[in-house]
């Protein structure tokens, strides 16, 4: 039987309220952490091999370790922008278990020496943001936030900032720009946000799910956490399954669970009468897997080996009734629409490919167009200022390569 650690109390009535949360043992991790030394917390998180849940999979402890010990304010930005198509896990975490996130924020801030934390939340998540703000007010009232938290002498304020609807603002440096009140364009790296981030100060940026795992690591220890996943990849992962399955939704499973099991066991298999054709395993920017490739372990390294990526663990299931040209069209339209326009390959490349695909869908394509798409996507891949270029190029390349025959048949 699978064990849920993050989503354990999901569905419990009024669990998002602090009284119910405390009844189930809430805020014990904060109490424990505040009695630890920051360095001990950092060691524990490093040992837990908690990798970033936003998409890149960068170890959280290592990231915190990059923050220089300078005499400047430091900031924590929690990335709740959740713009990757197919992804909806953070929304569930915040609406069902906002206090777990707050606990994570308190511990992270205490560990790194932060006194102001921002939660950058997707603009469309209005109700979720309101719930989060309610939770923050409750935590303030109970003394978990604000001045002198639990008489430890540690101060922390948390601010919820709602985005204005750009995918690019989920990219960490564009998020910072947006948070500073500017146009959400990514910054040139280096310097990395850990040293020069929000308001030019050292900044930690972590995904909601990453931060929400911190209290579990502290409360139960790193070894316990690693035991819930893989040695190099601690903990569980919330898989958001969508598409042509019987039971779409979120499934918290250990890292390394087979994709086949996720689709056919946990998500109830394909919808009646539908046959599996392809899966996008980690949000729309992840290269697509064909039906015969789904017997694969869902963890960062295995998927990279298979030429795809775990990304945000959003599994999009595509059936044989769906045309891959339509999938391609959706993908290219999205990235052409969401490119910030700052750097050349992404600004013009995504739009150009989108125009070709649109023309193909109108039945005016030729074989040369597919070659052209492959060439253009390779000219974007690895040559853009931020990861959005790669995010656009990878699914396009994989669809055009793996489903070339099908695309040609539609010409």
């Amino acid at each position: 039987m699978r064990e849920k650690i993050l989503t354990r109390y999901f569905g419990l009535e009024n669990f998002f309220k602090i009284d119910e949360y405390l009844k189930q043992g809430g805020y014990q991790a904060v109490q424990k952490a505040l009695q630890m030394k920051p360095d001990e917390i950092l060691e524990e998180v490093k040992k837990a091999n908690l990798r970033g849940r936003g998409g890149a999979g960068f170890p959280a402890g290592v990231k915190w370790g990059f923050v220089p010990k300078v005499d400047k304010p430091k900031y924590l930005c929690v990335n709740a922008d959740e713009g990757e198509p197919g992804t909806f896990k953070d929304r569930y975490i915040i609406s069902h278990n906002p206090h777990l996130l707050l606990e994570g924020i308190i511990i992270t801030s205490y560990c790194v020496g932060i006194h102001s934390a921002y939660i950058y939340i997707r603009g469309e998540y209005e109700a979720v943001a309101l719930r989060l703000e309610g939770a923050i007010a409750e935590a303030h009232e109970k003394g978990f936030l604000g001045k002198n938290i639990l008489k430890s002498g540690f101060d922390l304020d948390v601010v919820v900032h709602r985005g204005a609807g750009a995918y690019i603002c989920g990219e960490e440096t564009a998020l910072l720009e947006s948070l500073e009140g500017k146009r959400g364009n990514p910054r040139l790296k280096p310097p990395f946000p850990a040293s020069v981030g929000l308001f030019n100060c050292p900044t930690v940026i972590n995904n909601v799910e990453t931060v929400s795992n911190i209290p579990l690591v502290i409360l139960n220890g790193a070894d316990w956490f690693v035991g819930k996943g893989l040695p190099k990849d601690g903990g569980t992962r919330i898989f958001g399954v969508s598409g042509m399955v019987e039971k779409p939704g979120i499934y918290e499973l250990p890292l390394g669970t087979s994709l086949k099991d996720i689709i056919f066991k946990h998500a109830g298999g394909m919808k009646k009468g539908k046959k599996l054709k392809a899966v996008i395993p980690g949000g729309m920017s992840a290269p697509v897997l064909k039906a015969d490739e789904v017997d694969i372990k869902m963890d960062f390294d295995t998927l990279v080996e298979a030429g795809s990526m775990l990304g945000s663990a959003a599994v999009i299931v595509i059936d044989t009734g769906t045309s891959m040209l339509d999938v391609l069209k959706t993908v290219t339209k999205f990235y052409a629409h969401e490119s910030c326009g700052q750097c050349t390959p992404c600004r013009i490349g995504t739009s150009w490919i989108n125009k070709i695909v649109k023309r193909m869908a109108e039945g005016k394509g030729s074989k040369k167009d597919i070659d052209n798409i492959l060439r253009l996507a390779s000219n974007i891949l690895g040559k853009t200022l931020c990861p959005l270029g790669d995010a656009a190029a990878m699914p396009i390349l994989s669809i055009a390569k793996k489903f070339r025959k099908e695309l040609e048949a539609r010409l």
Partner: protein, 514 residues
């Protein structure tokens, strides 16, 4: 210092230098569009990608800093392919209207296509329609179709001038540079935008469609329109004598000078060049026929020297009046001081300079002439023209420049026996003097100027002086010799450099530390 290898060539370079600058110093140019020395790297055009051994992706030359032993390849197949890719993207949405684009000939996009591209277009979609010919400032026209979004203009207004009139609107393929709320670019540095635009997106109304960039010749000079002494590039058409086409200056660009003006010049200096083209005096005028003087330099100078000698001999040098101005170079002011103050002890020395106006706390200074500081350091007391003092008991007046007020002099000059004017322009003054001698402007001669901060800057002739005009330093050295008061002293001076050396011997301010 670190040692790196660029295309396997070892290069010693200071630590912290970017790959782009290191390559530049080694004589290897790496194409770039958004990068400009004045701003921190932007990294958005992606033209400067280079291969660095050991790194999986191509890296930006504009922002990557050198490391000991780094091996950079700027012309490898991977790099050239990437550059072609970027060019292909840029040109896909470009209107390709070079034949009617004012920037053709000094457009970086054209240059790079010539170097890396020359490929057939694979773009068979509809190009985005964008606004053309948008007036974004008093002299600026923006063509959104040609814009490559390097944001140089936006950054210039944000980081240098801080007026922030331009911004990027919309996103993705619809991104465009524009003004906010129809508030045009309105500052004294707007002309720099057309100069830093690497393509034909921002063009200058003052220059637009008047000529083609490749018809022009250029040369470095110093802007004389205020006392800042900004380095400029004068672009001009040399003229065509067979077809009667006169020499003409078409535009002024800022030249890089980190110590003075950085990369910029103000609009006053940029657009105020008509004085170089219009109403130029090109011949000697003798208004007193009874003197029977041939309008030839030698004869006129001899005549003037004799006048001076006679006054000196009769002990009447106090009857000499001199009107100078701060457009004269250090060398010329030095000779003038020598002849008229040291040798002749003339007392009536006035300065006729353009009136002071408001400065702008950036480059433009209140003094609207280039060498006020030089004149002061030379020992002159800068007094404005006092017409009563000028007229009383004066036998000879020698005046320089065109900033004299005609009305003030009209009554005063009548009583003076001999009146000589050195001027570069035809004006109403010319009929008030007995002899009028044509002189070149700063752009047409050599010498040095001392700017408001006391920085001495040399300049040399970019343009040929019109007609018979002769640099003042030359004819002053001649005059010094002819007047014969201190012959051996003036004999040495056959070039501005020699005069400058002479200044250094006498005035410590101008001494060059060797």
């Amino acid at each position: 210092m670190v040692k790196i290898f660029i295309n396997e060539m070892p290069v010693e370079i200071e630590e912290g230098t970017t790959v782009l600058k290191a390559a530049e110093k080694a004589g290897i140019s790496i194409p770039h569009l958004c990068y400009h020395d004045a701003f921190p790297p932007e990294g958005s055009c992606r033209m400067c990608l280079v291969e660095i051994e050991g790194l999986p992706k191509l890296e930006l030359a504009c922002s990557t800093r050198v490391r000991e032993g780094m091996k950079v390849f700027t012309k490898s197949e991977k790099v050239v392919e990437a550059r072609k890719g970027v060019l292909e993207f840029l040109l896909a949405e470009h209107p390709l209207d070079c034949p009617i684009c004012d920037k053709a000939g000094d457009c970086k996009l054209q240059d790079y296509y010539d170097e890396y591209g020359l490929f057939e277009s694979q773009f068979s979609e509809h190009k985005e329609k964008r606004a053309k010919k948008v007036k974004i400032g008093k002299n600026l026209i923006h063509d959104q179709e040609r814009c490559i979004l390097c944001r140089r203009c936006v950054r210039f207004l944000r980081e240098v001038i801080k007026t922030q009139e331009l911004g990027v609107f919309e996103r993705g393929i619809h991104s465009s540079v524009n003004i906010y709320d129809l508030t045009p670019v309105n500052n004294n540095y707007s002309g720099n935008l057309a100069q830093i635009c690497p393509v034909g997106a921002i063009t200058d109304l003052d220059f637009r469609f008047k000529t083609r960039a490749w018809f022009l010749e250029k040369g470095e000079s110093i802007c004389p329109l205020c006392s800042r002494g900004c380095s400029i590039i004068i672009e001009y058409h040399p003229g065509h004598y067979r077809f009667g086409v006169p020499r003409k200056v078409y535009r002024i660009h800022a030249s890089k000078n980190q110590e003075v003006n950085g990369f910029w010049i103000c609009d006053l200096g940029r657009y105020g060049y008509s004085y170089l083209n219009e109403n130029r005096l090109d011949r000697i005028i003798v208004n007193r026929e009874e003197w029977r003087l041939e309008p030839v330099w030698d004869i006129i100078l001899k005549f003037l020297a004799q006048k001076l000698k006679r006054l000196e001999y009769r002990g009447k040098t106090s009857r000499i009046a001199l009107i100078l101005n701060s457009w004269l170079s250090n060398e010329e002011l030095f000779l003038l001081h020598k002849i008229f103050k040291t040798d002749l002890n003339a007392e009536k020395v006035f300065f006729a300079d353009p009136p002071q106006e408001e400065g702008d706390n950036f480059l433009l200074t209140p003094e609207r002439s280039p060498n006020n500081r030089g004149a002061r350091e030379m020992g002159f007391d800068i007094k404005p023209v006092h017409s009563k003092a000028l007229a009383e008991e004066t036998d000879l007046i020698v005046a320089f420049g065109s900033f004299l007020a005609e009305a003030d002099l009209k009554g005063a000059l009548g009583k003076i026996e001999t009146k000589v004017l050195f001027t570069s322009h035809v004006s109403g003054l010319n009929s008030l003097f007995d002899i009028v001698l044509p002189t070149p402007l700063i752009a047409e001669k050599g010498g040095s100027l001392t700017n408001v901060d006391g920085r001495v800057q040399k300049f040399s002739a970019v343009l040929d002086p019109p007609g018979d005009s002769l640099p003042e330093w030359r004819m002053l050295a001649e005059l010094g010799r002819e007047a014969g008061i201190n012959v051996s002293f003036y004999r040495e001076f056959t070039s501005p450099e020699e005069i400058f050396e002479g200044i250094g011997k006498e005035i410590s301010f101008f001494r060059v530390e060797k």
